[in-house]
């Protein structure tokens, strides 16, 4: 059995996948501050649901996506420092983390501050040394270093980040200082910038290293506690999801918390990828919408779009991450009238407490969920018929095991009040709330597609999360997308993605090779070193090794990425397969600078419309990712219990249409035609008129536009 557990803002989801492909799910309320409690509750509930006689000892792998690091960063902006963190940087440059890139946070709110530095000024120390681009300009001064260590020890930091200028190319001083600090402060966590990031641009490297140092002690404590409880239950060692979409072991995650800052959303993308592979849909737009936000990412040619740098809470992290765009539009987004008389939705959210008015927990302001309820787009009882007691805190009026009964009266009052302010009919107001919210979601989808030169119309839209399937068809229509794929496990897709994830290690280096220095030998040398590092850290034979070359025309200040894959049978032969290559059996592809240049120029022409044949091409960075084999996992063999059917009125364009409402799991082969509503165990799928389809063998609802 494979176990995946994902911690969300409201619920912690657990998914068990059995050898025969049976999938068991459970939800427990998330327990912020002590996330392991919610994790263990969800695991135990899930084990209890798996068929009788199975126990924790049969779980072969325990994969975990969590928000410990993310939350700590977000909470720090509110003034709670995660650990007493010191920064050691080259003398004259200790303010690097505060200076950033000198842009102000908001164009017109002049005093809006950027993220506060994790290492405050009194905990920043200048290192007596200086490396230049070509090597040492000032050797590490031993006596001044001794004084530095003395002052550092007196400051009693829990964590130390070391960031010296040009250490990506010349790590000698940084390494030596690291050794000395580890001797002097054996209990403090230590993060060295060249080990973690390895690429140039000092602010981005410093910001990443500072985050890594500040969060690691906290994450280590959490993983230690979780590990202890998991072991007591008989579970295997926990594997942690990284921002890159691959797993790592708890030890490495605890040593480098920066790797897991985007652990949470990565699981969902993994789940989408799994379904994309299973259904053979290789071009998929993922649309994950929950209570407070909506995440969008792109799967192109069966691969998830990645980025070498992302910002979290205003801090750049120069580490590989899935390229996910988030906007603040969710089911709990609050609708309001602004002073110009327009209807607005969000960014304020009713959150989990009090939640939408219809949850009956004291919310009084109209939310997107309340509007959907008034339009008949939610079933009167939400959630799984199998939902157990663990869901009680959210379910205001639980009736037996029937899920949560939504309070229509409360929704009417909330939407009605806003409708009066806007001088609108309540139903028109409810439709307006949904339309305005969908405008915001559409923008997120446009950012990830049209703004990047990607035509969304050749994609299928895959909605998941509690609210994604409710808005999927409308989004598809907006973007002229013809097909919607709603996964069976759409409400717990992140946990499923975790169960199916593979291990991954990423290493990178700034190499700056151009002209005569960019040769087949120099390329092979750099590549071999990176591949050795990545595979050594993987702890299992790699199933796939990806290389990303970041190149530019000399003089440019931005890079373009050329992706390539190594021949896994001959990793150290230096053979590189560029995207689009066809290899014949036994053939060893060369590491050829000319081919690299050609690939770069092709990418440049595609993106910028021209090549510059006279310019020198410079290889700036190299990144290597080693991936383990994903666990064998089959998704067939799902429940065949037929859903219950009832009828319900749903409003579309001001008109109430009689629609079928199906409740429960949908067996393969079930045919559907809009208008219809599917009350799935953890989510609600709305099928507007003009859409129809059927459930495939994996339980995925495949909807196509029929008119």
């Amino acid at each position: 059995m494979l176990l995946g557990v994902d911690v969300g803002g409201t619920f912690t989801d657990a998914v068990l996948v059995d050898e025969d492909g049976s999938v068991f799910t459970a939800k427990a309320p998330s327990t912020p501050g002590e996330q392991q409690a919610g994790v263990m509750a969800a695991v135990e509930a899930c084990l209890a649901r798996a068929r009788a006689g199975r126990h924790a000892g049969e779980v072969k792998r325990f994969a975990h996506g969590m928000t410990v690091a993310t939350n700590a960063l977000l909470e720090f902006s509110e003034g709670r420092p995660p650990a007493r963190t010191a920064l050691v940087a080259t003398e004259g440059f200790t303010d690097v983390v505060e200076l950033g890139r000198q842009a102000r946070a908001s164009l017109y709110r002049l005093c809006e501050a950027g993220p506060p530095p994790l290492a405050p000024p009194q905990l920043r120390f200048g290192a007596p040394e200086r490396m230049g681009p070509a090597g040492p300009l000032r050797e590490l001064d031993p006596r001044a270093t001794e004084r530095l260590l003395e002052r550092l020890a007196q400051a009693q930091p829990e964590a130390v980040a070391v960031v010296l200028l040009h250490s990506y190319a010349h790590p000698r001083h940084e390494r030596r200082l690291g050794e000395l600090i580890a001797e002097r402060l054996p209990d403090a966590h230590l993060s060295l910038s060249h080990e973690l990031v390895g690429t140039f641009r000092e602010y981005e490297r410093a910001s990443t290293t500072e985050v890594d140092a500040a969060l690691s002690p906290l994450l280590a404590t959490y993983l230690r506690r979780l590990g202890r409880q998991a072991t007591e239950l008989g579970l295997p060692a926990v594997q942690v999801m990284q921002s890159s979409g691959g797993l790592t072991d708890a030890g490495r995650a605890a040593a480098h918390a920066a790797l897991t800052v985007l652990s949470g959303p990565a699981g969902g993308v993994g789940g989408a990828l799994l379904l994309s592979e299973a259904t053979g849909e290789r071009e998929v737009l993922c649309f994950d919408m929950g209570g407070t936000s909506c995440d969008v990412c792109v799967i192109e040619e069966g691969r998830v779009a990645e980025t070498a740098q992302r910002s979290v809470a205003g801090r750049p992290l120069a580490l590989p991450a899935l390229d996910i765009h988030t906007v603040g539009a969710g089911g709990g987004s609050i609708a309001w009238r602004d002073e110009g008389g327009a209807l607005r939705v969000g960014p304020a959210s009713a959150g989990a407490i009090p939640g939408p008015a219809c949850y009956g927990l004291g919310g009084e302001r109209a939310t997107v969920t309340d509007a959907n309820l008034l339009l008949g787009r939610l079933p009167p009882v939400m959630g799984s018929p199998r939902m157990g007691r663990e869901d009680a805190p959210l379910a205001g009026t639980l009736e037996g095991t029937g899920g949560m009964r939504l309070d229509r009266g409360a929704a009417e009052r909330a939407v009605g009040a806003l409708a009066r302010e806007l001088a609108l009919d309540p139903i028109a107001c409810a439709e307006g709330i949904v339309r305005v919210a969908e405008t915001e979601m559409r923008r997120a989808l446009m950012v990830m597609t049209v703004e990047r030169g990607i035509d969304p119309r050749r994609f299928a839209l895959m909605p998941f999360g509690g609210a994604g399937p409710l808005h999927a068809a409308a989004m598809a229509a907006e973007l002229e997308i013809e097909r919607v794929l709603c996964p069976r496990a759409c409400g717990v897709l992140s946990a499923l993605g975790l169960a199916a994830a593979a291990a991954r290690r990423d290493v990178s280096s700034t190499v700056m090779l151009a002209g005569a220095a960019l040769t087949s030998d120099s390329l092979a040398g750099e590549l071999t070193e990176l591949v050795e590092r990545a595979t050594a850290e993987l702890d299992e034979p790699p199933a796939r090794v990806d290389v990303r070359y970041e190149l530019r025309y000399r003089g440019q200040s931005f890079e373009l990425t050329v992706a390539a894959e190594l021949d896994p049978r001959d990793l150290f032969g230096g053979g590189v397969v560029l995207a689009g290559d066809t290899l014949h059996a036994g053939e060893r592809p060369p590491v050829d600078p000319a081919r690299l240049r050609e690939a770069f120029e092709e990418a440049h022409e595609q993106r910028y419309g021209y090549r510059d044949e006279r310019a020198e091409v410079e290889l700036v960075n190299m990144r290597v990712s080693a991936l383990g084999a994903p666990p064998p996992l089959s998704l067939r063999g799902i429940a065949t219990q037929p859903p219950t059917r009832a009828s319900q009125e749903i409003v579309f364009d001001g008109e109430a249409l009689e629609a079928e409402c199906l409740r429960g799991e949908l067996p393969p082969g079930t045919r559907l035609e809009g208008p219809a509503l599917c009350a799935l165990p953890d989510s609600t799928l709305l099928i507007p008129p003009g859409w129809g389809g059927a459930v495939d063998e994996y339980g995925t609802v495949v909807l196509d536009r029929i008119t």
Binding site: A103, C111, A342, R443, V447, Y608, G609
Partner: protein
């Protein structure tokens, strides 16, 4: 808005559909952002790609700006001037305009604007299709429907010819010295070739101009789609409604200000001496009049502003003082009237040199408006430094202290007003150029004391590794950025040339000279003003009202 320099708009008309309004606002905003993304993605120069020194906007058929993607505040008010400059010239499908003349729709010469009229019925490109390839810009006989609006894009090009690389001379006396002046003209393939031939790095210029055309095509495509979806008549109503909506919100904000006259006075530090600028700001109900009468006359240097730049600075300040959430459309500025006498430094006559007007004088205009409303001021300069020799040209601007607000300290080491561009990483700089950075740090304590502290400036010390020239255009070297409500002023900026032997020479606010290998340039940028009396000195300000923000009536002088 040319001629006598008066600018104000028409009255409002109510709109009865709050939902459609918000959906249209969202669609227009998305279209402008997509234009911006296309421009940044397809441009070549680092200035556009990395520093995002570019703006995009959509206009209705009367040339009113209905929406703008916000990147650089200094472009705010000057985009409408560009469309106005071509409005009367006759529009044809697929015929775009180009201009940079500061006195006919432009700001300063490096900012080149491309304007494209939008007609319904023109052939539709596919959604998401790369429009970049279609760069033929000749007249086409495409039958088309009515004109529904304009798309405009503006980008700061790295060079537009003229006497010095970068086209930002510190000591120009005429516009011609600053580069190629482009009066509004049709942008076709021949024009592109003719123009780029007069500039440095023509290949890059060509790519950037094409990127601007691609951005405009994107905007045109989206507006046509919208027209086809809702109908031309409905789209026109909706664009009117967006303008009126922004106007209503701006009026509500101005109405919340206390009626009355506020005055402010400040100076620019010209080489020949201080140039005085004056503002009388009058709030009367829902109207705001900004009158710069009494300000210095146009001078022989390059601190002059065309009116469009002055308007941009005013609208930046109004946006700060009202609600930044108001959609950036011309409607938001209808309740604001700007009065600038012709021939004044802030409404210079055609032909005047303007290189520093856009980067420095614009900051002081924004300062005047903010000061009139009782705000503590930020560093008030961009600290423009250009270094170069036969092998390279390098231009950077440096952040400093922001003025404190009523409820928060001023941020440190940031661009404070009309610019928000990024710095160059030291590790990149040292790899590319014969320069060594000896220090880059916060200038601790340079922010003015106060109940809320002004932000600190920065210290940046560069060492030349080979011989080169330098040109520094800075302000707030003689006069400190003032605080408000009893807050202390920030420290003045300070620039020092340090010889290889350690001998230090203090530089003036505008300086050009030579650096030999081993010589250093140390720039210390100004701190921001504080807000409210410093806690330890409460007793020193017994009579001062200690609020800052929409402050008391009265005169504020530096």
């Amino acid at each position: 808005m040319s001629g006598d320099g008066r600018h104000h708009g028409a009255g409002a008309r109510p709109l009865d559909d709050p939902i459609e309004l918000q959906v249209i606002v969202g669609a227009l905003r998305a279209a402008c952002e997509e234009m911006g993304a296309t421009l940044v993605r397809s441009a070549h120069s680092a200035n556009i790609k990395e520093r995002r020194d570019a703006s995009t906007a959509l206009f209705d058929r009367d040339g009113e700006m209905v929406m703008q993607a916000e990147h650089i505040p200094v472009h705010l008010g000057s985009m409408p001037a560009a469309v106005n400059a071509v409005l009367a010239l006759g529009q044809h499908p697929d015929v775009s305009w180009v201009l940079n003349d500061p006195f006919a729709g432009g700001t300063h010469l490096p900012d080149i604007t491309v304007v494209t009229p939008i007609f319904v019925g023109a052939p539709r490109a596919r959604l998401g299709q790369a429009v970049l390839q279609n760069t033929d810009t000749g007249h086409s006989p495409t039958p088309a429907g009515p004109l529904i609006g304009f798309a405009a894009s503006r980008a700061h090009h790295a060079d537009v010819g003229g006497r010095v690389p970068g086209s930002m001379p510190a000591d120009s006396g005429t516009l011609e010295e600053e580069g190629v002046v482009i009066s509004p003209r049709v942008l076709d393939a021949a024009t592109i070739e003719e123009l780029v031939a007069q500039m440095r790095n023509p290949r890059e210029r060509r790519a950037d101009l094409r990127a601007q055309l691609a951005a405009n095509r994107t905007g045109a495509l989206r507006l046509v789609e919208l027209a086809e979806r809702v109908g031309v008549g409905r789209l026109e109503e909706a664009m009117d409604a967006v303008l009126e909506y922004a106007e209503r919100r701006a009026r509500a904000c101005i109405a919340a200000l206390q009626d009355g006259v506020r005055e402010a006075e400040d100076v620019l530090e010209a080489p020949e001496g201080d140039l005085v600028l004056r503002l009388k700001a009058t709030v009367e109900g829902e109207r705001l009049v900004l009158d710069f009468g009494g300000s210095a006359a146009q001078h022989d240097g390059n601190l002059n502003c065309p009116l469009a730049v002055t308007l941009s600075a005013c609208w930046f300040a109004v946006r700060v003082l009202t609600d930044p959430d108001i959609p950036p459309s011309a409607g938001a500025y209808r309740p604001v009237e700007v009065v600038v006498p012709r021939g004044c430094l802030l409404n210079a006559e055609p032909g005047a040199a303007v290189a520093a007007g856009n980067v420095e004088t614009s900051s002081r205009v924004a300062d005047l408006v903010l000061a009139a409303f009782g705000r503590a001021l930020g560093q008030g300069t961009m600290n423009n430094l250009t270094l170069g020799n036969d092998d390279f040209t390098y231009y950077e601007t440096l952040g400093g202290g922001q003025g404190a607000c009523e409820d928060a300290d001023g941020p440190s080491g940031v661009h404070v007003a009309m610019s928000n561009t990024l710095n160059t990483p030291i590790e990149a700089l040292e790899r590319e150029l014969p320069l060594l950075v000896n220090e880059y740090s916060l200038r601790r304590g340079s922010g003015g004391a106060g109940r809320q502290r002004g932000g600190d400036g920065v210290v940046r010390e560069l060492e030349a590794l080979s011989d080169m020239t330098f040109s520094l255009i800075a302000e707030r070297r003689r006069h400190a950025p003032p605080g408000a409500g009893g807050g202390e002023p920030g420290e003045r900026g300070r620039d020092t040339l340090i010889g290889a032997d350690g001998e230090a020479l203090r530089l003036p606010a505008k300086a050009t000279g030579r650096l030999q290998a081993g010589e250093r340039l140390r720039i210390e940028t100004p701190g921001g003003g504080g807000c409210g009396p410093p806690p330890e000195r409460d007793d020193l300000h017994p009579d001062q009202p200690d609020r800052c923000g929409d402050g008391p009536m009265g005169r504020i002088h530096v």
